[in-house]
Symmetry: C2
Subunit: 187 residues, 2 copies
Amino acid sequence: MHEKLRSHIEKIVPLTDKEFEFILSHFTTMHFKKNHFVFERGEKVEYAYYVVSGLLKLVYTDDLANEHILSFAMEDWWESDFYAYFNQKKATMSLKCIEESNTYCLSLESYQNLCINMQKMESFFLQKSNLGFIGSQQRILSLLTTNSKERYEQLLKQYPSLIQRVSKTQLATYLGVSRETLSRLYS
Amino acid sequence: MHEKLRSHIEKIVPLTDKEFEFILSHFTTMHFKKNHFVFERGEKVEYAYYVVSGLLKLVYTDDLANEHILSFAMEDWWESDFYAYFNQKKATMSLKCIEESNTYCLSLESYQNLCINMQKMESFFLQKSNLGFIGSQQRILSLLTTNSKERYEQLLKQYPSLIQRVSKTQLATYLGVSRETLSRLYS
DNA sequence: CAAGAATAGTGATATATATCACAGGTTTAC
DNA sequence: GTAAACCTGTGATATATATCACTATTCTTG
């Protein structure tokens, strides 16, 4: 039942059954339907989400109502509006399901509890955070150094499955390019 | 003497004298002259650096020999090629002094030691990493949603001191815009 | 199942930005 | 102290990309 979460954590820190039970007691689970929001801009961000199955997008909507996708959250990913989560502020972004999704949910209180009472989990989160930071820096570099076509090809290479699962309009808003330009790149 | 580092850490976790002494024993200090490299692409990245004074830039050089500045590291910042540091790989970027700088240096071994033996420091690094991640996401959002002029103005607002300390050519490579375009923005 | 919404391609045009080139001023380093 | 390197502004032009508009197709949802 909970094997996915366990093996996800155990990729970084090994656990006894008892330890995993303790960890699990800090999570709840939730199910979201396609096109439904996990949270919307302006709402309180109660949880950080670990995606067991499905696909979601973290979206920022600008003043002109244009959507910008900050990240796709797929199976085995952690996602939230982390600024709002850690600072207990209202969301500036929205988290929306592209596909029907199942997640584990971790409140900030539970997160802090886990960190304090179980150094292994603090190590785990530290490693995850470092990886997230490094990944974001790579994305910045990609935005600074490459044009639309190169970015599209990088994405194809890095996440080939995304192209089947996500509309091109949405890929465009992730890449920072208009859907028309993206469409013309490979025509 | 070491007050800066101590108060930097104590902004997040309080320390006894003994604890700080223990922490300090993991660091070395270094001095770098203006325009000198802390490390260059291709070299091993031995340390993560805490900047006591001065100003540095983390630079990626592309195939056409164009410089792209990933970040400016100013007083009170941590900087490194973190991918190379954590994975013990050769640097893909270079860290270069814009001004004469003083740093504390933390080897990966010392970092891991600190994390294992002092939960406070693991908490400290976790918080720093989370902040770094959130900051990078903000930068991505800025690159996705704004044009050169808006990005320049955001930067002016966020780090007014930078504009005095850094050449416009360099600001341009940070903003992802040509120096000519940047020059024309405010003429 | 049907209506409305979302998606995808593509033409025509506008716009932001890059690139190349040059000149004058400033800084750096041996 | 001087040559070389760097910095800045600006004109002329090229290029990538955005925007607007229209059509056809495919999904979604009540």
